[in-house]
Symmetry: C2
DNA sequence: GATCAGTAATTGACTGAGCAGCGAACTTCC
DNA sequence: GGAAGTTCGCTGCTCAGTCAATTACTGATC
């Protein structure tokens, strides 16, 4: 395999123009832009970040059932240290409360405060508006169900391998 | 609209369990995990980040055609200051070079070095492997083409509204 | 041709994340 | 019941990004 500059430039151009690269870029770009869009709308209108909304969603899903920071970290695709600091900020803001676990003195259970639940209600409306406009709106109903099915398959593959 | 704690908790649970929330979460989670997967593989095997690969892809796409930092920022969903520092690191690593634009003395054109093109070739192989395994592999051919079509529609909607 | 609004890149201060390493608490196994 | 290994959350440090302000340049308008 000899490599002249000429040859390399052509090979690089070929790699950069591969349809796989383009398609995958589309996924990353769309997800990034959507998240940024929601994050800035939430900050502007509700004063919380998108990550905080995710936490509130996980906490309020099944009422009465407390969730540990470890479980939150897994659900948020975050490290445990990142979760610690995130919950620090949310506790400071009065959105959540840490409660020692009765069964295991290492774990800190996290539960939403009344303010946290109220914040969730407001934020969910903003979230729904943006998702409706840029995620559901541009697609036909059929494409939408296919898309979520495909994402579920990808998610499953990612979870099966290591984790 | 009166709000008892009881009422609020139920409303919060309903919001948190909305299918829209779940579906959108799937998109964000899948994209995040995929990107993390690729980023760590690239760092381990090639010593560059996923963002740097994106830069090299944009630069090598059309050979001979230089690209300004502004164009890079748009293509990467990054701010201009973030791009400045990213290009700083890449220039330091010998992957790219800044060239003053002949037509407009404000803009810095960026072009790949020979090392940059070589790095792209190695990184593209790693990228392709991961994408193949977790993006293309889990889907049928039909679902794949539908998925990319749907993502393109979302991307279009995002671009149309405000830039 | 002077001025003035707009744009490109940079810099300083800050933020939210990761990694590595810590102590405390739990589990397993003898 | 103790030793060894594991898990949970926390902390110091670093990194890659943002925002806001700055400088340098361009192009339109009077």
């Amino acid at each position: 395999m000899n490599s002249t500059p000429q040859h390399d430039a052509e090979a690089a151009a070929r790699a950069a123009n591969s349809p796989l690269v383009r398609d995958f870029g589309l996924l990353i770009t769309s997800a990034t832009r959507l998240e940024q869009r929601i994050d800035s709308a939430l900050r502007r209108e509700c004063g919380i970040s998108h990550t905080m909304l995710e936490v509130l969603i996980l906490l309020c899903r099944r009422s009465g059932e407390e969730i540990s920071q470890r479980q939150l970290a897994d659900g948020l695709t975050l490290t445990s240290s990142g979760t610690t600091r995130l919950i620090d900020r949310m506790e400071e803001a009065g959105l959540v409360r840490r409660v020692p676990s009765p069964g295991d003195r290492r774990v800190a259970l996290v539960e939403p405060t009344a303010d946290g639940r109220t914040a969730l209600l407001g934020a969910a409306a903003v979230h729904a508006r943006v998702v409706e406009e840029f995620f559901v709106g541009p697609l036909t109903a059929d494409d939408y169900t296919r898309l979520t099915g495909a994402l579920a398959a990808i998610d499953r593959a990612l979870r099966e391998d290591t984790g």
